[in-house]
């Protein structure tokens, strides 16, 4: 093998190894990821809330409601896992805690909604829908906050 080929192979190999190493994303990149996760979480919470409200008015089937709430729970889990796996830059540590904390809290609420739906505890729907509305509002506020770098 010629020396030139060896050098090319070495450079490509080195780049591959370096590329596979976990790095700390810059602030903008992390904020975009965080915004996406919070936006996905907010959509999932609002869908669960909408479905619960419709069920309270007897406008959706129980099994349909169950599937929608379960999908929301999965979406929240995926959003939480996605952002939790991203190393935040030092300047964003505080908001990292806020993002993961709020998504976890919303996930707990949707899990509670799923349990109520599967158990047929319809009397809890209105209260859960109200809590979900509050959680969605908080997530949307956080999403807006994430549009700008920390002060």
């Amino acid at each position: 093998m010629s020396r030139r080929r060896l050098v090319v192979l070495a450079v490509v190999g080195l780049q591959t190894v370096v590329g596979c190493a976990p790095g700390t994303p810059d602030g903008d990149s992390w904020r975009i990821d965080a915004q996406r996760a919070v936006s996905d979480a907010s959509s999932a919470v609002q869908s669960a809330e909408l479905a619960l409200n419709q069920s309270s008015e007897d406008r959706v089937f129980d099994r349909y409601l169950q599937t929608v709430v379960l999908d929301s729970e999965k979406a929240l889990g995926a959003a939480g896992d996605h952002i939790a796996a991203r190393q935040p830059p030092r300047s964003e540590r505080e908001r990292y805690d806020a993002v993961t904390g709020q998504i976890d809290a919303a996930a707990d609420l949707v899990s509670a909604a799923r349990i109520a739906v599967v158990d047929g505890e319809t009397y809890r729907y209105d209260g859960l829908a109200k809590s979900l509305a509050d959680a969605a509002e908080a997530l949307q506020s956080l999403e807006t906050d994430l549009e700008h770098p920390p002060e």
Partner: protein, 409 residues
């Protein structure tokens, strides 16, 4: 009277058969995020599919052969293979998405995980492909697919500001919080969903299955030019419904369950039940069409006996392909890959494969040896050429936009 009935039935099944999982998901997503600001893409795509479906239908009616049966003969094995590989890969991906779509629709009815339903759905699809008569399959599923009209009723019932909704469609603009590149990504995805290659595979091969002749060209044109645009109206109604319900919430749509919620809001359980029938019929119909399209294109390329109008033992290799692709689709879905993600990928890759699907149609439809006096006229050629330019632009932009926007996120 019989003729009128045939035309009406053809139009109704064309409307019901127009919407598939790609249209359902993409239109709902776009409606929630962009309102009807991308409605013009649906209109552009519907007009495009009309142009090329009419050409491929005319080829089938005049020559008695499916378009892609002729492609290899007319353009040679190399071009035929390129056409086969590109279109086949996308159609197979769409087939996976459609089977997943049926399973997701049934999950909404049963609350049983879609993964557990996939083998059952795949078996039903294979059984229909093997046993059901072509006309029964097409007409029954197409007519049940018409249930999706419930989205138009729901939109009307939701009482949107029609002026604002239509104004959005008339101006090329995006919501303030969205980026132009994301807007462009969804424009390409919508275009790909409307012009999915399997639609022309199925349309031209179906014409041969139903033994069209030159006398059937008028009926075929009525199906295309009335049925497909009305199918496009269904797509717009889906986008409009999610725009009205999810738009003000600033919430996205990522699941089939969310797609049906606007109907529940507007029409309650009865509307939702009709929408569920529509989901199952539209996805099951499209699963059968895509499965058959894979079998058609492979068999036509290799010159094997094909079609449901011949006995399975006569077209054994065709039916073997149908069974194999059903198994492949089942295996892919059993990996628990998200069918919605497969759907999103399939519509974008559809856009990539469009030039290789539609260029040969334009060439064959201009060949007097096959078409005689029914070759493309000036209007068909002008529209075909203009659309080919749009198709090439969409194909070139699809992958870069997918990468840059991280699939529209």
């Amino acid at each position: 009277m019989k003729k009128v009935f045939a035309v009406a039935l053809g139009i109704l099944t064309a409307i019901g058969g127009f919407v598939d999982i790609g249209d359902l998901v993409t239109n709902a997503q776009v409606g929630a995020r962009f309102g009807l600001s991308l409605g013009w893409v649906v209109i552009l795509g519907v007009l495009g599919i009309c142009v090329f479906a009419e050409m491929s239908g005319r080829v089938a009616a005049v020559s008695g052969r499916a378009t892609f049966d002729i492609v290899r003969e007319r353009l040679g094995p190399r071009m035929g293979m390129a056409n086969l590989l590109a279109s086949m890969a996308v159609t197979l991906l769409t087939f996976v998405a459609e089977i997943g779509g049926v399973a997701l629709a049934l999950q909404l009815v049963t609350s049983v995980s879609y993964v557990l339903l996939v083998p059952f759905v795949a078996f039903i699809v294979w059984l229909i492909l093997w046993r059901a008569r072509f006309s029964v399959m097409e007409n029954v599923l197409g007519l049940f697919g018409l249930s999706l009209i419930v989205f138009a009723v729901a939109l009307w019932q939701l009482g949107p500001d029609w002026g604002e909704l239509l104004h959005r469609m008339a101006v090329v603009d995006k919501p303030g919080d969205e980026q132009w590149r994301t807007w462009a990504y969804y424009a390409v995805a919508l275009f790909g969903a409307a012009m999915t290659p399997y639609e022309v595979f199925f349309f031209s091969s179906g014409g041969v299955e139903e033994r069209w002749t030159a006398k059937d060209i008028t009926t075929m044109r009525a199906n295309v030019f009335i049925g497909f645009p009305l199918g496009g109206v269904l797509s717009l109604a889906i986008a409009g419904s999610t725009a009205v319900v999810f738009g003000p919430l600033d919430a996205g749509v990522d699941t089939l369950g969310q797609v049906g919620l606007p109907v529940a809001v507007a029409l309650g359980k009865i509307g939702l039940a009709i929408a569920l029938v529509g989901f199952v019929a539209a996805t099951l119909g499209a699963a059968c069409e895509t499965g058959l399209s894979v079998g058609y294109s492979i068999s036509q390329y290799h010159g094997w006996q094909w079609g449901k109008y011949v006995r399975p033992d006569v077209a054994a290799r065709f039916h073997l392909v149908l069974a194999l692709v059903t198994i492949v689709a089942t295996c892919v879905l059993l990996t628990t890959v998200d069918p919605i993600l497969v759907t999103e990928a399939s519509v974008v890759f559809s856009a990539v494969a469009l030039p290789l699907t539609y260029l040969p149609i334009l060439i064959v439809a201009n060949d007097e040896d096959y078409m005689g006096g029914h070759v493309n006229g000036r209007l068909a050629n002008t529209l075909g050429t203009v659309y080919l330019g749009v198709i090439v632009a969409a194909a070139a932009a699809a992958i870069p936009l997918m990468v840059v926007t991280r699939m529209g996120s």
